[in-house]
Symmetry: C2
Subunit: 153 residues, 2 copies
Amino acid sequence: MDARNNKPSELEIFREFLKRQGMRYTPERETIIKEIFSTHEHFDVDSLYISIRQKGLRVSKASIYRLIPLLIKANLIEEVFFENGQMHYEHIYGHEHHCHLRCQECKRIEEFSDKRVAQIEEDLQRRFNYKILRHKLEVIGLCSECQKKSNSS
Amino acid sequence: MDARNNKPSELEIFREFLKRQGMRYTPERETIIKEIFSTHEHFDVDSLYISIRQKGLRVSKASIYRLIPLLIKANLIEEVFFENGQMHYEHIYGHEHHCHLRCQECKRIEEFSDKRVAQIEEDLQRRFNYKILRHKLEVIGLCSECQKKSNSS
DNA sequence: AGGCTTATTGACATTGAATAACAATTTCTT
DNA sequence: AAGAAATTGTTATTCAATGTCAATAAGCCT
């Protein structure tokens, strides 16, 4: 448990998850998870693999690819967007949910949250009789710098 | 021009677009566009290719892959989601913008629109000084049938 | 603690969507 | 009608993601 707020760590959550599924806790899985949760950055398989290698650690890409669906099932990470032929992920456990405002030109990303989305979810729940699990709101636009560039050209 | 509402057709829009870009209008492009806009369904490259062939027409997949970015640039279609290793698209011109509520289990899709998203966009525009171009709101949940199934198991 | 079952690993091969290369063809301007 | 240049289909290529499989190791049971 985390001493400050009594909230179990990602690793603890995941070990619990593995036990429930009759799966095993391995050093490789630990390495990958620790790397993922060491920052609050988005990641893709390739960048994750590289940063693990740069720390002098060693896991195969196959193990990363095999772990990702488990982390998603355990509600620790989620897909955020698909770009340049690769899926990108971010971790969600322990972080406020947020949406993404992305610049179409320079690819920069701003994070935001808005409680109106939760209201929309409630309405959908009633209207369609769904059990809402999550949402993904992606707003695409031009940042102020890229607006200037396109105006001057 | 469409006789009823005076609105140019997708083909006209696209020919205009091609001319602006110094590009050429070809029978292959016409075939693909007509097929895309003959229904209001979502599509992916493979299903599109098949339905064109089923009509006895013939274009290469390469031409489809080459056309899609142009249609996106011309604001006629957009990516909706990536699933099963394939990008899925829908056409947007001449249709009210809508968002998607998707069942995680059975993959069924409900379409909805909510004006609160436009309000969120306005706020983002001001707050981040972005020029907002579009958004993609995907809500994922369990439809009523799939809820029943998961309860009984 | 040691043994046994079976999940997991890494290496390698494979799949398949998407892109690139290129010669043959076709559009479109003049 | 001719010529420059874009587009086509074919073929080859890329590369993310998945499958295969023998070797290894986790974790339960006694």
